[in-house]
């Protein structure tokens, strides 16, 4: 009877000494019978005696030693286990195929030489019998990794890349078996098994890569504290994570696990975002900076406004993204899988045609040639290397603060000709300074303050945040129903009164950005200065170097927009744009045949972002924007913009290179095979070499230092 076991996720493990420290500590605990730490997966597996095992104390003890962790939850456990066992399966099948292939190759060498030098018949027979007897289980067992999915896809009416592989395998095997029983020399059992082996090696590495991503994501999704400290009317209180909602203000301090996505409004933190980006050095996060669920506060304290919880957080979305792609065999509409299936069909048709063509020379010869054709052509560029290139790009992207939703987003990103930028918060720091506040005498400062606080309660616009912190010592008016007027401001109604705060385009007199009105009468105005981000100059230069046309589209006043445009050297600018205006701008550019990307950060950008060829949500964007954006920048500031473009460019390069290699290879291989110059053995060597070349080409971008 085995003792129950538990798993503790420990993200702070980074070297063998940590492993030692944790294992030694765990072993001293009563109730722990066995403890083993897995450094790669950052977890500890314990066999326990439930009666003596004190879960909370164990976690406390670990945290004390610098290794805070949490128990792996049930449903996640199932997920990780299945990917584990898939890897184990591949390893076993691979080993079996490899073991047999190696032995068969030795025997085949003898048989081959024997064809020239002469070989004793009994010996020949021995080798042939052994080859057949060993190859058959390989085809049944190891090759099931291919024909299983191929058949089930076929049952659903789809042709996947596994299908030509399966066909090739079975054709070669059948041919060899028939030859075996007839005593003919065309026995290619070594080819079949070597073929299976090489393919499985490729699959194993693919699975390794996938599971690394899966591990860190599972782990992220589980990395949430149980209780969260939020700011309430009278100080602070603790609530369970499940009750955390958008708009709450969470108090963070050292060693806290960040429970949800949000924006820092007060304080200063150093956040360790290794779980999300792989960067283990803590990153400084000041006001307006975005904080992500799943990361950990290294030092400092602060308050942040929750913007996304649970499944809407970046972390969960990433996990969903991976999950959806893990089921990659059932994804529809993905360019590579669609192409792969067309290609597979084409190959099968060509093989049949070749077979018919060669029939006059005999069934054996025909089958041989057709088999060689099936084996030598491989849509591995499409089925293997393109997804791999995409995954590599996604991973590199996340490290640099760019999250890409799917392949088409990346492909489109590489073709962009025009970039539409928002002004406030994107090109400018989004941290405006209050230049001037004018209060008309109609209402007291306190009344104005309480109105402002009520109206802007859930607003995350830089001006609103500024005003909220300015009036932080006041109390908001209760009972107002606030309605957001996108692109303009907020309005509220009370019996007999209508309030509004925001842009007042009708009132051109005086210079101000935001005004507060009651029943149409001005109560107060505020003017802000929004400094341009220092990195904006650099960005504009780089973008113009890449021959991209830049446009500024801002909701703010025309004059301020013009000023910013002039300073940055951007020719096209538009101020006072409502959401519909932005859409029209995008459409007019597209009508001229341009490919437009829109970098936005607010709800007022959403319609234009969906209209654009690529919508990019900036690091400080509001949650709604990020939820639908094909590209999400994880870091504040403009640096990720360049990373994103660079990523798209290198992805396109890799894809083109892979397709070129694949096409060239196939153009050379197919005629050669169809004309009968290729034996199945040669095919079995050439094909994996070609796929390795394509895989190597995809991974090459990995090693390039960024």
């Amino acid at each position: 009877m085995t003792s129950p076991s538990v798993i503790i996720l420990l993200d702070k493990l980074h070297c063998i000494n940590c492993v030692q420290a944790v294992e030694q500590y765990l072993k001293t605990l009563p109730g722990v019978l066995r403890a083993h730490v897995n450094l790669t997966q950052k977890r500890a597996q314990l066999d326990i005696r439930p009666e003596d095992f004190q879960a909370e104390e164990v976690l406390a003890g670990l945290a004390q030693r610098g290794y805070p962790g949490r128990f792996l939850e049930e449903h996640q456990e199932r997920k990780t286990q299945s990917s584990d066992s898939e890897q184990k399966q591949i390893l076993r099948k691979m080993a079996f195929a490899g073991c047999v292939a190696g032995n068969l190759m030795l025997m085949s060498a003898s048989l081959y030489i024997g064809q020239f030098q002469g070989i004793d018949n009994p010996l020949q027979r021995l080798f042939e019998v052994l080859s057949f007897c060993l190859a058959t289980p390989v085809v049944i067992y190891s090759a099931s990794h291919f024909y299983g999915p191929a058949l089930s896809a076929l049952r659903h009416g789809r042709v996947t890349m596994d299908f030509p592989i399966t066909l090739g395998l079975f054709a070669t095997y059948t041919l060899s078996t028939v030859a075996f029983f007839r005593g003919l020399p065309q026995q290619y059992f070594d080819t079949v098994t070597a073929f299976v082996f090489v393919l499985l090696v490729g699959r194993y590495f693919q699975s390794l890569g996938m599971s690394k991503v899966q591990t860190s994501l599972n782990f992220l999704a589980g990395l949430r504290p149980e209780k969260v400290r939020i700011k309430s009317c009278c100080g602070s209180r603790e609530i369970p994570l499940a009750q955390l909602a958008v708009g709450d203000i969470v108090l963070l301090q050292e060693n806290d696990q960040v429970p949800a996505d949000g924006r820092l409004i007060e304080g200063f933190l150093e956040v360790e975002e290794a779980a999300l980006t792989g960067e283990s050095l803590p990153q400084e996060r000041g006001k307006e900076a975005r904080i992500y669920a799943g990361t950990r506060v290294f030092s400092g304290r602060g308050e942040y406004l929750v913007e996304a919880v649970g499944g809407s957080t970046v972390v969960s979305r990433l996990a969903q993204l991976v999950e959806e792609s893990q089921l990659q065999r059932s994804t529809e509409g993905r360019l590579s899988s669609v192409l792969a299936s067309r290609f597979s069909l084409l190959i099968v048709v060509m093989a049949l045609a070749t077979w018919c063509f060669w029939l006059p020379a005999g069934v054996d010869k025909a089958t041989l040639v057709a088999t060689s054709l099936l084996v030598i052509t491989c849509p591995c560029a499409l089925g293997l290397a393109l997804p791999l290139a995409f995954w590599t790009a996604v991973r590199r992207g996340v490290e640099q603060g760019v999250l890409v939703r799917d392949e088409s987003a990346l492909e489109e990103s590489a073709q962009i000709t025009d970039l539409v930028l928002d002004k406030t918060g994107t090109l400018t720091s989004g941290n405006p300074t209050l230049l001037q506040e004018t209060l008309t005498r109609k209402r007291s400062e306190q009344e104005v303050a309480s109105l402002v606080l009520a109206l802007e309660k859930t607003s995350t616009h830089p001006f609103a945040l500024k005003l909220k912190s300015r009036f932080a010592t006041f109390e908001a008016v209760q009972g107002l129903e606030v309605e957001e007027q996108i692109g303009l401001g907020r309005a509220a109604r009370a019996p007999g009164k209508e309030y509004f705060i925001g842009r007042l385009p009708a009132l051109k007199e005086g210079q101000f950005d935001i005004g507060l009105t009651e029943n149409g009468e001005l109560l107060a105005t505020w003017q802000f200065a929004d400094p341009i981000r220092p990195e904006a100059y650099n960005l504009v230069t780089h973008l113009q170097e890449r021959a991209l046309n830049l446009h500024i589209a801002s909701g703010d006043k025309r004059e301020t927009t013009e000023k910013v445009a002039a300073v940055l050297g951007i020719e096209n600018f538009h101020g006072e744009m409502l959401p519909e205006d932005k859409v029209r701008l995008v459409e007019s550019l597209q009508a001229r045949g341009r490919k437009v990307a829109l970098l936005g950060d607010g709800i007022n950008d959403s319609p234009a972002m969906s209209c654009a060829d690529v919508g990019v949500a900036m690091g400080h964007a509001s949650v709604v924007t990020t939820l639908s954006a094909p590209v999400l920048l994880l870091r504040p500031g403009l640096a990720p913009v360049l990373s994103w473009l660079e990523l798209a460019r290198s992805y396109r390069q890799v894809v083109r290179r892979n397709i070129a290699i694949s096409i060239t290879y196939n153009l050379l291989a197919i005629p050669t095979a169809a004309l009968g110059y290729v034996s199945p053995l040669m095919a079995a060597i050439a094909m994996p070499l070609a796929s390795l070349a394509v895989v190597a080409s995809s991974l090459r971008s990995e090693s390039r230092v960024k």
Binding site: C15, I16, V19, Q20, T40, Q41, K88, A95, C99, N103
Partner: protein
């Protein structure tokens, strides 16, 4: 060359043993932590 009739099957048996060992290793999870277990030998082991 009759000796080959003994040697070849023997070789297969030996590689079969190796395969068996590999399967055992996979089952016991030795391939799950290539980083940690690889460096494990660096730790000071307490004498059992």
């Amino acid at each position: 060359m009759e000796i080959l009739f003994v040697l070849v099957p023997l070789a297969l048996v030996l590689s079969g043993l190796a395969l068996f060992g590999f399967f055992r290793a996979v089952e016991s999870g030795q391939f799950e932590d290539l980083d940690g277990d690889g460096a494990r030998f660096l730790l000071d082991r307490e004498t059992d």
